[in-house]
């Protein structure tokens, strides 16, 4: 059973290598066959292993690959427990669905095979990350995931904006990785090992000095990967990549790696009050900024990008309140409906011949009914309308935050505001694309091909039903994670009437958000009642430009780095290093010129030299008579 872990992790890598090798030889059909079957095989094996775990009450399975460094002992090892099992199924399952979609979306692209190579490499790295048994293997996966993301974002590398977006993603990721790396080093220094179990048992038994620093370093890493403030501006730019890649990476898997990691280290995190405070505050701030920015975006994918950032903020809020199960729950549900939304957007883009501005669309539900219906399901799910998935997970987060009391009431209220804004901008998104009757020409648009529709339907079904894995009546997910989080102090839902009231409040927020969107954009209520909203244009500007945070970051960091590096190149490299090298060579030349002047060709000067040195020799022997012996 342990060795199956190997197969699941390395099968995508082998597929990637295989595709790379035979890419020139085969046509698209054979390639599709190869990659989709490999993905299906991975998923089947993953499900089988998960079932096995289920039967064994989620007792962890360990697998040691090899011993890398004997002293201190660092192994290359994998762990399969409830947490990694869930992520494993999620990644492999979504990989199958999205790859099916990609075969249709990316067909006729000249770099078809390269796309699937990168895709499989990404799946491999994500599996490496989630099934890691110690911090070091997780770091490998972490870095590889960042690399694959870069490769996929700048996939159409001839476009300058795509290349730049890839750079930005990688660099901002790297800043986070620096924090992760420092955390790694501190962990090794404090605990002497990277292994999860050893570290956590040490944390639980001893005192907790210096834990906050380690936790904060890891938090910085999570911020980079999961696009929290201030390292979030790469995600909207990452929409330059192919849409199905965005669906996988920036909706479901890579950006959730930060959340996963923080839940993994929850035994450490629970003891650091300042860490939890940082997480929840940043999560809230991010959720609000992103939701605000999503209100007035024009690009179909950018709305979804900001929505992802905002939902990640929610997951961070959950972690910060101690509701680790809720965070993972939201991670899972969000993966499904966000992937659904992205793939639907991909279908729309494909049919609109790569038009991405939502103001140029309208009333598409008449032409693309199935897509519209699925996107509608996704929108309802994200807005938190029961009984769809998003309601259960989002409500659990809000309720857990509320149950902490004290300052957390404030956090709850602001999270509710963010949920309201979520419903609003997603409603606007769906309405402007599919419902509103504009004068735009959509006569050439028809329904998307089957290979795109089927994944949408699958994801739609999951978005409806996946929420039932962890309701207040059936704590399925909690049972799954029980073994992993057994030593962690988890915040639970409030009981009884409080719970019902909270649920009703969040449902109300969702509904009112959607209703407001309908009123403003379809019925155009403001001009009807002749209400003037103050600062309407300014608010719209602020929203579209993400509160000008990007500009600020550019001025502070990019410009100063550029001028600094220019100075370094000119002064240090040009003057000092080149100068030294050139001066050494001219030194030799000049000194040899001067020395050659002693060859005068005159007898008399030679006589003088001869005499001079002879005298010096004699003087030497007089001064040190012992040298003559």
């Amino acid at each position: 059973m342990e060795n199956l872990i190997f197969v699941v992790i390395f099968l995508p890598l082998l597929t990637a290598i295989g595709i790379q090798i035979i890419s020139k030889l085969v046509n698209e059909l054979l390639l599709n066959f190869l990659t989709i079957n490999s993905a299906l095989l991975s998923f089947t094996l993953a499900s089988g292993m998960f079932a096995f775990l289920l039967m064994n009450k989620f007792e962890p399975i360990h697998l040691e690959f090899f011993t890398w460094i004997p002293n201190p002992e660092i192994l290359f090892e994998f762990t399969l427990d409830g947490l990694s099992g869930i992520m494993m199924i999620l990644v492999t399952g979504l990989s199958v669905v999205i790859q099916i979609f990609s075969t249709s979306y990316m067909s006729k692209d000249e770099n078809y095979s390269r796309y699937f190579v990168y895709f499989n490499v990404f799946v491999f790295s994500m599996l490496l990350l989630v099934m890691s048994g110690n911090f070091l293997v997780m770091f490998f996966g972490w870095e590889l995931v960042g690399l694959s993301s870069y490769l996929l974002i700048s996939f159409w590398s001839k476009k300058q904006s795509a290349a730049r977006a890839g750079n930005k993603a990688f660099i901002l990721n790297r800043i986070g990785d620096f924090g992760f790396l420092v955390g790694l080093m501190l962990t090794l220094n404090t605990f002497g090992t990277f292994n999860y179990e050893k570290v956590f048992s040490a944390v639980l038994s001893e005192n907790h000095d210096g834990l906050s620093i380690i936790v904060i370093c890891f938090i910085i890493g999570a911020f980079g990967k999961s696009a929290q403030f201030p390292l979030f501006s790469w995600l909207p730019d990452a929409m330059e990549g192919p849409t199905p890649a965005s669906a996988l990476i920036h909706a479901a898997t890579m950006v959730t790696a930060g959340v996963f990691m923080l839940v993994r280290i929850s035994p450490m995190l629970q003891f650091s009050e300042i860490g939890k405070l940082i997480i929840i505050s940043t999560g809230l701030l991010t959720a609000l900024i992103a939701a605000f920015s999503a209100i007035n975006q024009d690009d179909i994918k950018k709305v979804l990008a900001y929505s992802t950032i905002s939902q990640l903020g929610f997951m961070f809020i959950a972690i910060g309140s101690g509701a680790y199960v809720a965070a993972i729950f939201h991670l899972v549900t969000h993966a499904f409906f966000k992937a659904l939304l992205f793939l639907g957007a991909g279908a729309v883009i494909h049919e609109m011949h790569h038009e991405q501005n939502i103001h140029k669309m309208g009333n598409l539900k008449t032409k693309m009914p199935i897509t519209a219906a699925m996107m509608g399901i996704g929108t309802l799910a994200i807005s938190g309308i029961p009984p769809l998935a998003g309601f259960w997970s989002k409500d659990e987060i809000l309720a857990s935050t509320f149950s902490n009391g004290g300052i957390y009431y404030g956090y709850w209220a602001l999270s509710l505001l963010a949920a309201f804004m979520t419903a609003f901008y997603m409603g606007r998104h769906w309405l402007l694309i599919f419902h509103k009757e504009t004068g735009n020409d959509i006569s050439s648009v028809h329904e998307a091909p089957k290979a795109m529709i089927r994944p949408l339907i699958i994801l739609g079904i999951f978005s409806v039903f996946i929420g039932f894995i962890n309701t207040p009546f059936f704590h399925g997910l909690e049972k799954v994670l029980e073994e992993t989080l057994q030593y962690v102090d988890i915040t639970h839902l409030p009981e009884g009437i409080t719970l019902i009231v909270l649920a009703l409040v969040s449902i109300g927020a969702g509904f009112s958000g959607l209703l407001l969107a309908y009123l403003i954009y379809i019925v155009d209520i403001f001009s009807y009642f002749k209400i003037k909203i103050p600062f309407k244009e300014e608010i719209k500007e602020l929203s579209s430009n993400t509160l000008y945070l990007n500009k600020l970051g550019e001025i502070i960091f990019v410009k100063s780095m550029k001028s600094f590096s220019r100075k370094t190149a000119v002064i240090i490299d040009g003057l000092m290093i080149d100068g030294v090298v050139n001066n050494i060579s001219s030194l030799f030349y000049n000194s040899s010129q001067k020395i050659s002047r002693s060859q005068t060709g005159l007898v008399r000067s030679y006589v003088v030299y001869f005499g001079l040195f002879m005298l010096l020799l004699i003087g030497l022997f007089i001064a040190t008579p012992w040298m003559l012996n």
Partner: protein, 102 residues
Amino acid sequence: MIEVSTDWYLTLAAVLFSIGFIGMMIRKNALIMFMCIELMLNSVNLTFITASKHFGTIEGQISVFFVLVVAAAEVVVGLAIIVSIFKKQSSASVDLLRTSRG
């Protein structure tokens, strides 16, 4: 009574040698430089004889013979060279011989 010992002769040889050496450095005329070489060789001869008296062996005086003969041969060849050089340039100054300048 101050005795004339070996030291005096050695000093004389040293002084003679230095004078010959200084002459080599100062003078430009090739012939005069040759004469200075002769001075130096003679100072060496004096040293040899002194040593012969000091140690009581006859080898010193024999060495003088050799030095003498070699000096004579050297003078012969050197003067021949100077003569042939003089045929080319009308002055006997060695400063004009600069062809081996580096």
